[in-house]
């Protein structure tokens, strides 16, 4: 892999930028790998990257049924933050945040990570109490957090409607200054390039149709490109986790729902931070090319169709216009849906399974993008060592039988 640098930019300018090396190879599948990762989204590619980088396991394949970054990695609203309530999730997301902070340098690929701050608005006294509790919990865990009152919110984002006469008046907000956004495609491409450079095979258009096992141990996968042997298989398939689990008669506490998002036409810079509101339920930021990136909640029915109902978009935009009357006449450019794997406690499942050599990383639901680096990092450790890292030990599937849930649904008090 040739490194990206000022020198390489100048060198390639002489050939009119027509001779840049492809960012990753397009190899034929080998007969056998040490580890197979099913799912070529951000989490799967990050897992492969850290398997190679941190654990020296380079005979790895990432199997993707579509193309790299074509699933939820390229469909989310790119928000990154680590201000969760409970210790377990705060530590996991903060690990991710620390990796984000050095990611572009580590990957030699600009993921455009922009720590522009994330505001979580409060609209009622109870919202403000919850925010105070969460900010204090964050600070006790060494994660930055501040509380703002309505005047401070207004000073930071003048276009927000902070009138006390609003239907849902803004009373204040939490602010995590280290939060922000990143370029989602670049995260997938950067991890793919980094993993490929360390010897990982990225196999696109390679759909897994079955997982073979012999006497309680996985031995390989049947794919649309033939049978591939492996003694360790990591499944990172987001919305399709239940489908893959059913191949080995494993059942998960997961339901797949459509989650929609949309972007506006590009407009001049008007919003320099990320604004989220759990109460009116919407979140918004402005991308570097000027479009407003908007998302909200899931459709309530389950679905694998990568699209949802219009009424959800309508209520999302009603919330955004409630917060930002100035956006009422901005036109929307595109809308889409992704399939998110929602767990009952809104926390992921990362760990081993009863089947030897099979590992699952799923249940990230609506908030997986921010966790991409940390998720890959702990999952690589789990696969390499055959046991969870202390950061993901609490996120085993056992918690649904012991009752030790990590309830972030209400606790984080926000839409993801």
């Amino acid at each position: 892999m040739s490194r990206y640098s000022l020198a390489s930019l100048v060198r390639n300018a002489f050939s009119y930028h027509e001779n840049w090396q492809a960012a990753w190879r397009n190899p034929e599948p080998k007969q056998e790998y040490d580890v197979i990762i099913i799912g070529g989204g951000g989490h799967g590619l990050a897992t492969a990257y850290y398997l190679a980088k941190e654990h020296g396991i380079t005979n790895v394949a990432v199997l993707e049924k579509g193309w790299i970054g074509g699933g939820n990695t390229g469909r989310n609203t790119t928000i990154v933050r680590s201000n969760y309530l409970w210790d377990e999730s705060t530590h996991l997301y903060e690990k991710s945040m620390k990796l984000w902070e050095g990611l572009s340098q580590d990957l030699n690929y600009n993921v455009m990570f922009s720590q522009r701050g994330v505001l979580n608005l409060g609209h009622s006294l109870q919202d403000m109490r919850d925010i105070a509790r969460r900010v204090n919990a964050n600070r006790l865990n060494g994660v930055d957090g501040e509380m703002l009152d309505a005047a401070q919110v207004k000073a930071m984002v003048p276009i927000l409607n902070t009138s006390p006469n609003a239907r849902y008046p803004i009373l204040g907000a939490s602010l995590q200054r280290r939060g922000g956004v990143a370029r989602h495609d670049a995260v997938a491409w950067g991890y793919a390039r980094g993993a490929d450079a360390r010897g990982v095979d990225i196999l696109q258009k390679c759909e897994v149709t079955g997982i073979r096992r012999e006497s309680g141990q996985v031995v390989g996968v049947d794919t649309s490109r033939g049978f591939i042997k492996a003694k360790k298989i990591g499944v990172v398939a987001a919305g399709h986790s239940s489908v893959l689990a059913s191949m080995v008669n494993l059942r998960l506490p997961i339901e797949s729902h459509p989650l929609q998002a949309l972007v506006s036409e590009p407009i001049k810079p008007v919003l320099h931070t990320v604004v989220m509101s759990g109460a009116v339920h919407g979140y918004i930021s402005q991308s570097d090319k000027g479009d407003l990136v908007i998302g909200a909640g899931i459709d309530h029915y389950t679905g694998y169709g990568q699209r949802g109902s219009f009424s959800v978009i309508e209520s999302t935009l009603a919330a955004i216009v409630e917060l930002f009357p100035i956006f009422s006449r901005v036109r929307m450019n595109r809308q889409w849906g992704g399939i998110v794997d929602v767990c009952p406690d809104a926390c992921p499942i990362i760990g081993t399974t009863p089947l030897k050599g099979l590992y699952f990383n799923c249940g990230w639901g609506t908030g997986g993008f921010k966790a991409t680096p940390g998720s890959g990092w702990v999952f690589a450790h789990t696969i390499a060592q055959d046991r969870p890292h202390e950061l993901n030990a609490a996120f085993s599937i056992d918690r649904f039988f012991t009752g030790r849930l990590i309830d972030e649904h209400g606790a984080a008090a926000v839409a993801h």
Binding site: S242, P253, E255, S256
Partner: protein
Amino acid sequence: MLLIACPWCGPREETEFSCGGEAHIARPADPDALSDEQWGYYLFIRKNPRGAHLEQWCHAHGCRRWFNVRRDTVTYAITHVYKVGEAPPKDSA
């Protein structure tokens, strides 16, 4: 947007309804007799199929009655609507 045929009120648009998730999950008759794992299965584990799905809906802004639906989770097409207590369509997963 789904068009759902309430067995009592006829076809109405989705916003009148609330979705109650997977149908035919019976509460165990004697929860105390269950192991933690069996209880966890009852509470949390779901089929989540890709394809035909039997699910319960409530006509929340209409007659407020519950009923069952067979809906395809890929095409979202609703193929059967039947009342609570009636047998699900035979070819269902």
